[in-house]
Every structure is written in C-alpha cells, then in structure tokens.
C-alpha cells in the first residue's frame, strides 16, 4: 500500500526558495503569483496493513522526514483523502 507524506515549511517560517520562485514568476509576467511555498512529497510503499504502521510512520515523519522546528508534515494513509 502506498502512503503519502507532504512536508511544507511552517506557515510563519520564511521560505527563501519559494520567494525566489515567486519572484521569477513575476519577472516572467505572471504577476498574479502572490506567494509560493516549496516543500517535499514522499511516496512510501508499505507492506501489509498500513493502518497498523501509522504510529511508526508518524514517528518517522516527526523525527526523520521533517524538521519539526520549521516544517509541518501531513501523512496521508491509503484510505483517507485529505
């Protein structure tokens, strides 16, 4: 089963990479670009019952896949859609 993890910079934290991309968009004439935030997207193939692995997956999201000081993560289990 495929588990998805989306890591984004915290809302209050500056994202220099996103800001640079936004400015590039504006230079290219897309002036409607108000804000760009750049994160990471991971797909993890999990064997067996993914739901049973959720606590471990959350721990990994917190300790390894994201830097909780400046990033938020969202763990998407196969049967949920948000």
């Amino acid at each position: 089963m495929k588990v998805k993890v989306i890591v984004t910079p915290k809302e209050t934290v500056l994202d220099p990479q996103g800001a640079a991309v936004r400015e590039a968009m504006q230079h290219l004439g897309f002036t409607a670009a108000r804000d760009v935030r750049i994160g990471r997207y991971l797909e993890i193939e999990v064997e067996g019952d993914a739901a049973a692995q959720e606590p471990k997956l959350r721990e990994l999201c917190h300790d390894l896949l994201s830097n909780p000081v400046i990033e938020d993560y969202r763990l998407e289990m196969p049967n949920e859609k948000s």
Binding site: K10, T12, V13, L14, P16, N67, V69
Partner: protein
C-alpha cells in the same frame, strides 16, 4: 499629539501580572515603565519594553561590569557602545569595523538556521557601519562528540548542524570564513556556544552612523518583508533553556543569504551617495530596537506607520510587526529630497523599500497603525534607561588540590607519555579542524593569505593594501577554575597568536558567555572574568571596541563553563613579516622562547588523559609576556624567524607536534628537553605554563637569535633541529619517538572519523 494616549488594539489581551511576568519584566520594572509613560502601557508597549529591557538588548545585568573595559585609544574611531560595531584606524585613511556576537540559544534549538542567521546578523552589523564585510571567524563550543549514547548523538547533530549553517550562509553570501576555534566539553551539552565574528573595511569618510538626525527626514524600511518569524527572540535569548524551550520553537528565524547579498550591495551603494542621514540594522527586537535606538542617538523622535511596512503574512498585529525578528532588514533615515535616490538604488537591486515614517522633534517613538496610535513611548528612556543591576556575587567553593594533583595521578602516567600525546592529538578540541573548515569557503575573493590551521588567520585587505591577522581565543576550563586568570590568559593568548603571525595587536571585541546572573556564583564568574579581561586589555594596549553578552547559558544538565571569548585583530606592516606555525626546512634550529614550565592545573592533559577538570590554572605574568612578544616581533621583523607557534592546550609536546604538520609536507624534529631537569616526564611535556613560543630559525641565525633574546631578558632554550621522519624527544636517559606520519594521521583525521562513525 503627545497628549493622545495610545489606543488598545481590538484583540489585545488585558495587562495582568501574569502577562507582565511572561514578558520577563519584574513588578519594579513595570512601575518604572508606568512612570516613564505617565500611564499604564498597552499590550504592544509592554512587548516593546520587554524586548528593549531584556538582557540581550539592554545588558541590564552586565553593563556595570562592562564599564570596566578600556575603550579608548589613539586609533579608535568609534568606541564600544556608540554604534553597531567599533571602528579602528589602520592608517592611510583606511579603517576596519569588527564585532563578535553570539547566537547560542537559536542554535541550541535549530542548529542550522540558528548558526546561519547568526552569521547574517553579524555581517549586517558590519555593513551598517559603511564597511564592506571582508572575512568571518567563529568561536564554537559543543558537548562531547566521542563515544556512544543519546547525548553524544545530540551533540554531534548540533555540531554538524551549526557547521553546515555557518558554511551555508557564509558561502552563499560570498564572505570567507578564515579561522576561529572549536572546543568540546560536557558543560556545553544542550547549550552550545556559537560566537560569530565579522570584519569589514572602509575609508574614514565612509563611516555611517545609526542616528535619526534632521527633523522631517524620511524613514525608510528596506530589505526582506516582515513575517512572524523569530517573534521576541531577544527575550528568548535572555532565559535559560529548559525542556519547555522546545515548545518555544516558532522563535526560529530562517535566513536568506542571497537576499542579504543584495541588501549589502544596495546599502553600500546608497552609503556612497550623500543621501543617508542614518542607518541601523534590524537585528534583535527588529523594528522596535532600530526605531528607538536611532531616535535616542539622534536626540530626536521617530514616527512610523506599520500599515506601510512590507509584510509577508496577512493579519499581523502591531505587536507582531514590531517584535518580529525577520532577517535581512534595515532602517534608513534619508535626507529630505533624496527619497528618489534611495528608491532608485533599491529598485535596481530588487530589494523591497518603503517609506514608513519620518524623524520628529518630540523625542517620542510613535507607532501608527491605520491611523490609530499603536504605541507611543519616549525613545531615550526606552533605549537607554533600562534598569541596571548589580547582582549578588559569591565565590564558589573551589575544588583546588594543586600539587596534590600530581601525586593523585599515578606515576605510571609518566611512563605512558607516548600514547598520551597521541590521545591528546586525537582529542577533538586539539585535533585538526579540517573537517570543519573544508566546508567553509575560506578562499572566496582570494584575500586569505594564511588559511585556517595556523595560530592566526592572515588576510590581505586588497582595497587598502594592508595585511591583518585575526584570532579568537578562550580557554573555558581555565575560566571555570579561575575566571580572572582565565580572562587574562584569553587576551594574552590572542595577542601571542597575533604576534606569532607577525602582527601588532590593535583592538579586541569580546563575547561574554555565562550562566544565569541571578545565581551569585555565575555573577561572580562574570565579574572576575571581566576584570581579568580588562586588566589584560590595558596591559596589551588593546581596547575593547564592542562585543556581546550572552547570559542564561544553561541547560537541564547545568551551567556552561564561563567563556569570555576574545577576538583580536592585529596589523602586519609588511608582507614579508607574515609568519606561520609550521617548521619550514630540515636543519633549522628549534628554540623555545620562555621557560620549560611546570604548571599542571587546568591542563588539557589532566582533562583528556585523567578525566580531571581541576587544579589551579597557569599564572600569567604581564611583564614577561609583553617582553616575549616584543622580542618575537623584533626577531620576525629582522627576518630571523622561520616559524612561530605558541604553547597552549597540550603544552610543549602538542606545540612541537603541530609545528611538524606543514600542509605542504610533514617535517620531523629532533628535540632534547634534558634541560628541564628534575621534573616528571608528563609534566615536562604537557604542562601549560604561559608565555612560551616555539620558533625555528635557519642555523646561521641561531646564535644571533639566542643573543638578542638574552639581551632583551627573555628566557630561551635551544631545543634541537628540524628534520627526520619522526618527532624524537630526548629527556636525559629517556628517548621518545613518534613517527610523524602516524601522529599526523591521529591529529588530521580524528574529527572526520568521529563524524563519519555516526
């Protein structure tokens, strides 16, 4: 206008005693605020006082001590405390601005960004003065990284994170990191010290001031947009780190070195015009601090409108906007009529720029928000009249055992000196820091003459055609055992390092890293160390031109060893006087300036080999030290010195080994220490008595050198010759031998191996 009371914002919480305490203000301080305002403050004003009167901004617990430093001298152009950084004349119309600053607390929470924004902050301090940043140094302390366990893993994470953060910011903005120091000790577990230093060069007439002068002049906000990052970081840095600090995490700021590079170029271009009346960076306490400090220095008032401040996020309250510590921002007071010059330059560099207010004549810092007054405070009392405290000082009970120490260490210690030297060379505090400085771009802009790894870094200021030497020094262990002597030695060692490089010391910037000042033992350490530094700065005629105080350096594990870091800059008059610590050619004669020494207290040998942080640290004799440095400079200037290396941690044996490690090719040495007579072998090799330098000289100069030293009253010992493939030391009957390749590998690869292991 000043009779209008500021109106509370709709969502402000009521001012309760809990809220006041949460802002780190005492009931007495709150009364003082009411007296200054003539009324109770609103929430925004409470926040403003909270950050301005935090230790980080007001030095309320340390300022009385800082007054003990010598701050003036014939070549000092801007003195400590006058501006963002001190400025020193280096001749021919040129000057240097330099300063050291700590970013300990942010680095403890988020090592990469904490260290990176520390670098960004100190670079801004320098170009605010109108100087072009030329190079960086950093002085770092971490918990132990060798061994196993949760704490060691955490220490390694902090160590590698901080190094990566410094490298990231410095490399991206294109300012070389050319030297510094790193030590590892249990006391820094969970509370690393990250002290960053920057030096910039300017012509005298380029000097910029941080004062809001000229009533009616426009006030510009330039640089990155304001977000909610680093909210109230200055207040955060003025507390002890506890388990709950992890929950304070939104305080972390993220730096953008590319933005700062644009800001730097734009500011320097603008400062070269006649458009600027005053300039101030927004560091700790951001917009608040820069506004009230410029007004206070100018003897004026400033009125700004928060609605005009460029913002990254929506719905920011005045409280958040004023206290935000977003990076890469500056406040500029332009001359009236020059607004277009400012706009044109910042537009060219693609840096946001907004006119947010003007200079007034009523001495008030007035903050408007959409037409209403969000805060209105007399600027001078806010900026300069924070309460000053003299805390209770108590001498801690010491664990001196002095001569007993040697007896305690079994006599077998003397028999294992061969292995002891290898262990010392592998110890991360002594081992080569190449794993670290290889990550730094230490050559960018090609001004670096002596690269990291020698006693002091040497840099060519191409614009001014001057050679500078710079170093940071502090032995925290000495300071723990005797803060006054430790402070004196920190200054002496810095001066000695510069002298070994061929330089004449000019001035000092210091970074005082101590624990919670409300604990009497901590305050006693602070006072003793400051007095020690002050004595030594007088003795070496190196005034303190600025610096930083970082208190509350404690973690659940305890308080850090007191660390008054000394960064010293010296001038090398002629290129050919530049000297490094490495032996140059086989056959050269090795001479020890100073005595063999015998002091074992507080040595690295005791700490690393015997696990003891104890004893009375070595004593420093100013007269002796000054005579030695003067004679050494005389010899260097006469072209008689091939290499010069001072004896510090690890004593004479480590100094000799390090002198063998020339980056271009290892050289052994045959040394005879029989003259030390009567002492135990471990004592001869590893004592850390002060005022000692190992030099080498060509054989034909040796007699002349010995003669001159005798004339100058400087004790000197002829130790042997450079050459061979081993460091061979003879003491009477005892013949010790370390193959040079082996001990070089111990020393050179130690830190890299430790980091790779994890």
């Amino acid at each position: 206008m000043s009779t209008v009371t500021s109106s509370p914002q709709p969502l402000d919480p009521p001012i309760t005693s809990e809220l006041i305490a949460k802002h780190g203000l005492t009931p007495d301080e709150f009364e003082r605020i009411k007296k200054i305002l003539g009324r109770a403050p609103n929430f925004t004003e409470l926040g403003i006082f909270s950050v301005m009167w935090s230790e980080h901004c007001s030095y309320k617990n340390s300022r009385k001590e800082l007054k003990k430093f010598p701050t003036s001298g014939p070549n000092i152009l801007v003195r400590a405390g006058e501006e963002n950084a001190g400025v020193v004349d280096i001749g021919d119309g040129w000057a240097v601005a330099f300063k050291i600053e700590s970013h300990n607390h942010p680095s403890a929470i988020e090592p990469f960004q904490g260290a990176a924004t520390g670098v960004g902050g100190i670079i801004r301090d320098i170009f605010t003065m109108g100087a072009r940043p030329e190079f960086l140094l950093n002085s770092l302390r971490f918990g132990p990284i060798t061994g196993e366990g949760k704490n060691v893993t955490a220490n390694r994470r902090l160590f590698t994170g901080v190094i990566a953060g410094i490298a990231h910011y410095g490399n991206c903005i294109g300012v070389p990191t050319i030297g510094g120091e790193i030590y590892f000790d249990e006391s820094f577990e969970g509370n690393p010290l990250v002290n960053v230093f920057c030096l910039g060069v300017l012509q005298h007439e380029q000097l910029a001031r941080g004062a809001a002068r000229g009533v009616g002049n426009p006030v510009f906000y330039v640089g990155a947009e304001t977000g909610r990052d680093g909210l109230a970081g200055a207040a955060f840095a003025s507390r002890e780190l506890t388990e709950e600090s992890r929950e304070d995490r939104p305080a972390v700021q993220v730096g953008d070195p590319f933005k700062e590079k644009l800001l730097l170029e734009a500011c320097l271009e603008l400062l070269a015009t006649d458009a600027v009346a005053g300039i101030q960076d927004m560091g700790a306490a951001g917009l608040t601090c820069s506004t009230c400090e410029t007004a206070s220095r100018g003897g004026t008032g400033v009125e700004i409108d928060l609605a005009k401040v460029p913002k990254r996020e929506t719905g920011m309250t005045p409280y958040e906007t004023l206290l935000s510590e977003s990076q890469e921002r500056m406040l500029i007071i332009a001359h009236r009529g020059k607004e277009d010059v400012v706009r044109r330059i910042f537009d060219k560099w693609d840096v946001p720029c907004a006119e947010i207010g003007r200079v007034t004549d009523d001495g008030m810092m007035r903050v408007l928000n959409n037409g209403s007054i969000a805060a209105e405070i007399p600027a001078k009392p806010l900026a300069d009249e924070a309460p000053l405290y003299s805390r209770e000082a108590r001498k801690p009970t010491t664990d001196y055992t002095d001569e007993d120490l040697l007896r305690e260490i079994s006599a077998s210690s003397a028999k294992s000196v061969v292995e002891s030297l290898r262990r010392l060379l592998r110890d991360p505090s002594i081992a080569s820091k190449n794993w670290v400085y290889r990550q730094y771009d230490h050559m960018v802009r090609t001004g670096t003459v002596v690269r990291p790894g020698s006693d002091a870094a040497v840099f060519h200021l191409r614009a001014a055609n001057k050679f500078l030497a710079a170093t940071t020094d502090c032995n925290s262990l000495y300071c723990r055992l005797d803060p006054r002597e430790g402070g004196r030695i920190a200054v002496a060692e810095a001066a000695r390092n510069l002298t070994c490089s061929g330089a004449v010391p000019l001035a000092v910037t210091d970074n005082l890293n101590f624990g919670n000042p409300y604990k009497p033992e901590n305050f006693w350490q602070l006072r003793e160390a400051v007095e020690g530094l002050a004595e030594a700065c007088r003795a070496f005629a190196t005034p303190v031109i600025g610096g930083n105080v970082s208190l509350y350096n404690e973690s659940p594990a305890g308080v850090v060893d007191p660390t008054p870091t000394v960064a010293m800059v010296g001038l090398i008059e002629r290129e050919e006087w530049i000297t490094t610590q490495f032996f140059k050619a086989a056959g050269d004669v090795v001479i020890l300036l100073g005595d063999f020494g015998d002091e074992m207290g507080g040595t690295h040998f005791l700490k690393v080999i015997h696990g003891r942080k104890a004893g009375r640290p070595p004593r420093l004799d100013f007269e002796r030290e000054l005579a030695l440095q003067k004679a050494l400079r005389e010899l260097i200037q006469a072209g008689q010195v091939q290499s010069a290396h001072d004896c510090s941690e690890g004593g004479l044996a480590v100094a000799l080994a390090e002198a063998c490690f020339h980056p271009a090719g290892l050289l052994g040495a045959e040394i005879d220490l029989s003259g030390a007579g009567g002492l135990r072998l471990d004592q001869i090799l590893f004592n850390e008595s002060q005022s000692r330098v190992v030099i080498s000289t060509v054989p034909t100069s040796a007699d002349g050198v010995m003669g001159l030293l005798k004339e100058r009253g400087v004790p000197a010992q002829r130790l042997g010759r450079v050459g061979g493939d081993a460091l061979a030391i003879t003491v009477g009957e005892e013949k010790l031998r370390w193959p040079i390749r082996e001990i070089f590998d111990d020393w050179f690869h130690s830190i890299g191996a430790i980091v790779r292991e994890s």
